[in-house]
Symmetry: C2
Subunit: 338 residues, 2 copies
DNA sequence: TCACTGAATGACAGCGCTGTCAATCAGTGG
DNA sequence: CCACTGATTGACAGCGCTGTCATTCAGTGA
């Protein structure tokens, strides 16, 4: 860190001068335009290298050049789901030379609105958002911003522009039907904070409607107003079993973290899976499948959601047509816990 | 998405005109300068709101205003460690109105260099990087860029500017000493791809040097050239125990994911923990502590690393002095698996 | 009354780059 | 030899904002 008033970084002008061409030619050369002679190209590259030139994309983007930033708004990074989505997103974006600019809304519509405003003010090439109850102002900004916007996770509501995700209602429903077909009849539920996590809530709704189809209802239900975790699932199951309600054959957990906690409780309490109690989760996390007894669950294609969202943005930027809704689906994983 | 050639978004000029003030006054008002009359402020805000004005920070940053973007380069998002760090980082940055701009290096120095160049070209306010073998060019760019740079995770090497992390060598060493004091003597190791993950490698080095102090050596060692996972740990332990080497009292795993896999193997194989075999990991993940038998491990303060790194950037931007090296430490967690 | 002060506002000149359109020039066919 | 074509190159004018340095003007004490 030199202390001497940092000698301003070289600009395109310097590079151009050194290469003996005009600024615009240097610009084109460095951006890899094909209307520059190989010799010119080399001269410019050499000049740039020898000066330690570093492109200024602020200026470029302001002058009308493209941006390679994509705003990404997620509700949280604590829930493993979102890092997974982010990973898929990053992966695809990076291959195209783009960078995600991240904002975390903490499930708060106001914060979300603020983030949208902030990220949009950098004039990104696109925006990906896992919505947390967007305000009207949020929607207005997004539809007025004239850039590709992908709403991810859910496809249960109508998007401003595009949506990529799966039906959580459908996942809950499918699991209920599957388990009923397997012969289970007494179902209970253990869940985390479903006020914030409306996707978990949607799964529960779907699950219940599956039960209703078969003339059943939940025999027990514990929801704890905390973020999901293994410890919480463990605690939740203990509470459920201690509650004195009819003992269930199967407990549906709000997600795999919780379900793994349930499995641990059974192990510690000497409850034999799946004979004395069956367990099902949601997400298809690696941990669940590596348990001594693999977890029955629904695999959500988290990374795929990210990848697909990125692909939508990139396609749109390339001027191609894109689907308004993309359902990445889900898949039932029959483990040994049911 | 209006189809009509998107009527250019209103600029500060429009807002100023509407409010009956000059551009610069509007600018000051919207940025919350205190040298604007309350009445002027209100007029400008009203004008901005009624026009749906959206600040353009590209222009602002180019014109010399501050940036609120911080480049963040991580080697991966697959390893839970990095989402945790990112979470800490984001958290602190967001409170100050900053956004991380993310790049993933995939443990590749060339990609890392490319990312540095790319992110720097957006003239961010600072840069946080978990280095993966920085090239000379990378170092040169960072030291020439005249912005706060924090290298995170390790503090075992000399940073370009600042470093925040812990000593992985020290963590391995401390664990070895602890276990030896507890009476263990026959140690084996099960690890993942330590060519890429040089922090895991450093822990192993430290661990071994602890053994050496006591006149011991590893009785067995399995390393598998794959990313760490629960399944891999499970497989690794099975391989180790099947290898025919002297049976260890304790297996040190490269991290908690791996160690949890080891615990699962024991459960499935009927090996009693810790009597027949003890297990230790690294990271202090929630899952390890929620196992039927809590995992002995070293808690790394991942989110704290992120928070601290963010704090360093922010402090430096505020003109305050910052420590060149910050050791966030680690803590031994005595679980039931040893 | 008058210089003097400080608060509020404004004029101006870029920040560093790229889109647009014009200019240049070697090569081509008649 | 000349008009014509296509490949390169360049001049120019901003993109939308903010730092810097005036300017204005009400209020103040002598």
């Amino acid at each position: 860190m030199s202390k001497e008033k940092s000698p301003r970084k070289p600009t395109l002008f310097e590079v151009a001068a050194r290469a003996g061409v005009s600024e615009i030619t240097a610009s084109r050369a460095l951006r890899g335009s094909n209307m520059v002679t190989p010799e010119t190209l080399q001269k410019v590259q050499q000049a740039a290298a020898s000066l330690g030139y570093l492109r200024n994309r602020l200026a470029g983007a302001l002058a009308g050049g493209p941006s390679n930033q994509v705003g990404v708004i997620l509700p949280s990074l604590s829930n493993i789901v979102f890092p997974d989505v982010l990973k898929g997103l990053e992966d695809r974006l990076e291959h195209a030379g783009f960078h995600p600019v991240l904002g975390i809304s903490n499930y708060d519509p106001q914060q979300e609105e603020q983030l949208i405003r902030n990220l949009l003010s950098w004039r990104p090439a696109g925006l990906v958002i896992a919505p947390s109850g967007m305000t009207d102002a949020s929607r207005a900004m997004l539809s007025g911003a004239d850039l590709p916007v992908v709403e991810i996770m859910d496809i249960d509501t109508d998007p401003v522009d595009m949506a990529v995700g799966m039906s959580h209602r459908g996942a809950g429903l499918a699991m209920a039907r599957h388990l009923i077909a397997r012969g289970y009849r007494r179902f209970a539920y253990v869940g985390h904070d479903i006020t914030n996590d409306h996707r978990a809530a949607a799964r529960l709704v779907g699950f219940k409607s599956g039960l209703t189809e078969a003339g059943l209802t939940l025999t027990g239900c514990v929801t704890l107003a905390e973020p999901s975790s293994v410890a919480l699932g463990r605690r939740g199951l203990r509470m459920l079993l201690d509650s004195g309600d009819t003992l269930p054959d199967l407990v549906y957990f709000s997600n795999d973290d919780m379900a793994v906690g349930g499995v641990f409780h059974c192990m510690a309490a000497g409850i034999i899976l799946p004979d004395q109690l069956a367990i099902a989760g949601f997400n298809g996390l690696e941990i669940g499948q590596s348990l001594p007894v693999a977890l029955t669950t629904t695999a959500s294609h988290r990374a795929l959601i990210g990848e697909t969202a990125a692909a939508c943005i990139l396609k749109r930027l390339a001027g191609e047509d894109t689907a308004r809704m993309t359902d990445v689906g889900f898949s039932l994983v029959e483990g040994g816990t049911s």
